[in-house]
Symmetry: C2
Subunit: 323 residues, 2 copies
DNA sequence: CTGAAAGCGCTAACAA
DNA sequence: TTGTTAGCGCTTTCAG
């Protein structure tokens, strides 16, 4: 910056002003400075400007998801990036992979980098109590749990109940449930929805939890379908589990009805086409980012909770009758 | 930091040493400092330490892809993150969306943040000539084009030719080609592979390019299938295009063979199961990150180009005969 | 083993 | 409209 100032025959302050959208700099001077900048290939040092700035704002937000490789979170990340871009922010990301230590490390790294905001799928809500100083936080997919934090949630309980009822209405009474770890809030919500809908017919024998990927879901489904009194329908509580369930049904449960949570690419081209409860990751991400930037723009109203729906998309796999 | 030092009754320098993996600090002193750190909830300011450090290393790398929402890039991002984590680095990301201006802005933002390294799917190779100072760069999916930069590529030409030959071997001679923008290197490579395999039988009437999403690909495929002399097989040059092709074939091209570039989730459960040329995004990402960190660790050998294969996965849609 | 002083590149506050 | 001075929070250097 010193070099640029010398080259343009001005003081560093003038250069700084030009870089930061010059107000009160004579156009001719500004032009000279800009010329020197390009000629010398000068690049602002963001770390230094952040350091001295009043609010220490880094113009960076962080996105903490369970796993960026999951298409659901990837779509969410795309939406967040788009919103951030509109505000001139850059985005850091990290995948906690449902590992509390890893989550802690990522949050520590993000705060060390002095991100202005944080959009997170929290695992360890307790930990967050300490992380809430000086940074705006919006939770996604898990509730604030008493913390003064905005949250964007999907009504998985209602949606799951809706999906299970859909199966009941098509004559099924033995409906298997395939779910993720019970430690995950969304997983508990969806299981609760399943119980709501099953009512008296609820049978713990038909419930399999702790399924973290398609392979383990497939195995659990195969076991369920191979049992003495197999279910005539399966409810799969997320996208990965749905993939496993579809494979299992194809392998050894011909005719078994399936309803999955989360939409899947080409779900309409499977046979039978897959009936799902579709969440909208783009809407979730956009909403979360908007809440975050509202906070960064000074909104200090009490923390809000936005509840988004998941919609039943009827395609075929959930409408076959038992037998 | 001052506060921590006072609280522990030591100088700031000692605190700094403790934070940076204390060498030469008495254990008892270190313990006292650590206690003060947790008690005061102190968090290192990364911007400040970066500023004063010898190499100005920020311990951040950036990942610039076409679109993070695309599962292919999402998987790649996951692999890059994993590798970065092993080295204690955090990852910034951005999607250029095949927009040169946007790419330029993102690179400017990344360099302003003084990232130590950059993994990028470059659009505007020229622009990169200027961006190469002080930051290690690895290209993915597009060649270095004379620039002194490592690149991780997939041999799309050979793979595409292999896929098209597969169709030829199953009796097809009129094979439609559905591709992305001709401005994209991988798209040109794949088209070239198609031409290689078609040889004399190449017919420009059967080629559709510039397809940027599943919808436009579907439309192009429908047109092709509805023409006077429709193709009996389609070669779809990426995942999004394959999705469109599958839809079009289902809608109005029953029996048309399909080979797609890129694997798709549950491709094996489509009817017919989808034959594809599968790239491995995780391997691509891991390889790129390893190259980058090798550079950051001081490797200054001449720039390398790693060529990865795409493998033909035979499942059914590419083996139906014309009829 | 520990601390004091200097200064990284920039912007806030003021002075000219 | 422009320049000068101070100092952001940390690490380097060097002295104890």
């Amino acid at each position: 910056m010193r070099d640029v100032a010398d080259a343009a025959g001005v003081g560093v302050m003038t250069v700084s002003r030009v870089i930061n959208g010059a107000v009160g700099v004579r156009p001719s001077t500004a032009e000279r400075v800009r010329e020197a900048i390009t000629r010398l290939g000068y690049q602002l040092n963001h770390a230094a400007s952040t350091l001295r700035r009043r609010n220490h704002g880094s113009m960076v937000i962080a996105l903490l998801v369970d796993d960026i490789a999951n298409p659901f979170y990837a779509a969410l990340a795309g939406a967040v990036e788009e919103e951030a871009r509109g505000h001139g922010f850059t985005v850091l990301f990290g995948s906690a992979k449902e590992d509390r230590l890893r989550e802690r490390e990522l949050v520590a790294a993000f705060t060390a980098h002095r991100v202005d905001g944080l959009i997170a799928v929290p695992t360890d809500t307790e930990m967050w109590r300490d992380a809430l100083t000086g940074v705006a936080v919006v939770f996604v997919d898990r509730p604030a749990n008493g913390l003064p934090v905005d949250a964007v949630l999907v009504d998985g309980r209602t949606a799951a109940a809706r999906g299970v009822r859909h199966l009941l209405e098509h004559g099924h009474s033995r409906i298997g449930y395939l779910g993720d770890l019970a430690s995950i809030w969304t997983a508990r919500q969806r299981l609760q929805g399943y119980r709501d809908a099953m009512g008296e017919a609820f049978d713990p024998e038909l419930v399999r939890q702790g399924l973290r990927d398609a392979a383990s879901a497939e195995q659990a489904a195969v076991e369920l379908l191979g049992s003495a009194r197999p279910p005539t329908a399966l409810f799969a509580a997320n996208d990965l589990i749905t993939i496993g369930a579809v494979r299992a049904v194809a392998a050894c449960g011909e005719g078994t009805a399936v309803v999955g949570f989360d939409d899947i690419v080409l779900a309409d081209r499977l046979s039978p086409p897959l009936t799902v409860l579709a969440q909208d990751p783009v809407e979730i991400g956009t909403t979360a980012a908007r809440l975050l930037f509202a906070r960064l723009d000074g909104d200090d109203s009490p923390s809000r909770e936005v509840l988004l729906p998941a919609t039943l998309v009827v395609r075929g796999s959930g409408e076959s009758r038992p037998g």
